[in-house]
């Protein structure tokens, strides 16, 4: 038991294998549900590719799990602004995701100008800027500019929401 738990420690990558397995099983399950009468004009049918893809995912899931348990690991992606020496900073990601979700909930009801402002302002705050007023003004300006830019320039009417009639 202890050997199992030490082997599992730091193996969060097994979650990836689990996800691959789940998606693979889902694809196969969905393919099994399809009922296809044999037809001369389409001998392959809609089932063939899902079965191949599902099997590929299941095989990858198993092989990845084996690879990870044997000590293999994927290299995290590097980049200009990325500092891999500290662990993932969830205090940045969660508020960022929160701002994103707030936008999804608000966009149809309150309109793009409000939800976009919330999205940008919230994201900037989550990423560490503390110039509340300046950030708010930039966010509002961006949201207004894109709203009118899309409407006048592209003919795409983003939702006006609560501000309908004012904008």
């Amino acid at each position: 038991m202890t050997s199992l738990s030490t082997r599992l420690k730091g193996r969060s990558e097994l979650g990836v294998a689990a996800l691959l397995g789940a998606v693979g099983a889902l694809v196969l399950f969905d393919a099994a549900r399809l009922v296809v009468p044999y037809s001369q004009s389409d001998p392959v049918g809609p089932k063939a590719l899902p079965i191949i893809v599902g099997s590929l995912l299941l095989v990858c899931a198993v092989m990845l799990a084996v690879n990870v348990l044997r000590g293999g690991h994927g290299e995290a992606e590097a980049g200009e602004d990325i500092d891999l020496s500290h662990p993932a900073d969830w205090r940045t990601i969660l508020p960022l995701a929160g701002a994103f979700i707030a936008n999804i909930l608000l966009i149809d009801w309150a309109g793009w100008v409000i939800s976009g402002t919330v999205l940008f302002w919230g994201s900037v705050w989550a990423l560490g800027s503390r110039h509340y007023v300046r950030d708010g003004l930039i966010a509002l300006a961006l949201a207004l500019l894109t709203f009118y830019g899309f409407y006048l320039g592209l003919g795409i009417a983003l939702p006006a929401g609560l501000l309908e009639g004012i904008l």
Partner: protein, 558 residues
Amino acid sequence: MDILSSLMDGFATALTPMNLLYALIGVLLGTAVGVLPGIGPAMTVALLLPVAMVLEPTSAFIMFAGIYYGGMYGGSTTSILLNTPGESSSVITAIEGNRMAKAGKAAQALATAAIGSFVAGTIGTALLVVFTPIVVEFAVSLGSPSYFAIMVLALLAVTAVLGASRLRGFASLGLGLAIGLVGIDSVSGQRRLTFGQPLLADGLDIVVIAVAIFAVGEALWVAAHLRRTPLQIIPVGRPWMGKQDWKRSWKPWLRGTAFGFPFGALPAGGAEIPTFLSYVTEKRLSKHPEEFGKGAIEGVAGPEAANNAAAAGTLTPMLALGLPTNATAAVMLAAFTQFGIQPGPLLFENEGPLVWALIASLFIGNTLLLLVNLPLAPVWAKLLRLPRPYLYAGILFFATLGAYSVNLQAFDLVILLVVGALGFMMRRFGLPVLPLILGLILGPRIEKQLRQTLQLSAGDVSGLWSEPIAVVVYIIVALVLAWPLLFKAWRRMRPRTAVAVGGGTVAAGPAAGGPTAERPTAERTTAVSPGQAAAADGKTTDANTADATPANHGQEKS
């Protein structure tokens, strides 16, 4: 087909004031996103797709062409001034160019990169003009079995050859193919993976998926590991080169072009291998080998030319066969489909004026890049100082806007977040992004070819290898797949090299015993060595040097 007159017609279309303006916008936008960390040309094209739908297709593609070449140019500016390469093909530039910049020769490094890019891009585009019609002539004679085989080759080659881990590449490919399955099957009318959701019946929009994987995934990933200490940016004036620099640069430019174009045109050549080959060649041929690792101008000129020539080469299979081999080409292919244009060998016949205008605009874009960017280099350097909270908040803002404006439904934003989380996970655990995007875009087309093939052969499996080209392609596929086994056999025969090779690959040790072995290929292992050499030579072995090793496993910046 008279190529020259078609090309001249293309120039006539591309040189109208409006189209020139779009080319200029594309070039500036492309350079800006190439310079900025976190965003790249593929994502920019994806974000602009909904906006571009109101344009003429020709104008849209002229703009995309500018973004494509501009992004390549901007990437080299960043790696010279920052020493942290944004894409794997700029790794070499980062090593040598940054050493030059630190030695006070930033202007010359930028100049040789810019002029070399122009030379390579122009020659590469000329080669594209010569070779693409030949490939098309050959390609129109091919039937479904050959196409099916070629597409399988492209998918497997990109998955198996590029990137650090074949296993993780295939996992990514599987995910992409699965996403591509969602929606109503066009032949049988059956709903696949829709779970009774009417919103999923039309399938997942490629724009939404591409923006989610590239933009949202990247922004979340960077946010999790944001560098809190400001990067050291080397100040720069206007790029220029002395007589001696010209003398030392022009041969590497030409040799780099010769390496880059063929690799770019191959299904899985990529830009990484030719830049490295060019670097090694220049080091061997140089009269100043002692300068390498300390800022030799040849080491910037050659790889930069190779990088840009590869970018031009990539467009050959894209235009002639409808086969994308890098992320930007894949998104451009998706754009063709959105405009209702069928990609493939008939593209030249059906959409001749558009394709030739696109090719002409590549020449124009290249020239614009040189004219505009030499004086603008200090401005781009300033762009690097943009506060990161604004940059990444802006990426999320425009990603949301772009994805929402496709269908104006909030449901797409939910997809954007979920797939963005997937993109985050892939970056965390080293799953390459490119196979997913190619699987998503090529998956439906592969299925169509497969069904046509077996329809023609009335369900007989032997129909798959009924054409000689198909047989040849399957043999290449087998070789690509068997490559690690062959490599292992070769290593067993030469145990001494095995030690040297094994030492360079981090994950090879524990994994090499089973079929799940990490791919310890010669290219990858050796690609690390210039970085190590630079680290050993350099007197200022700061923390940044470690970043210059190619840690982003074959992914280009999206």
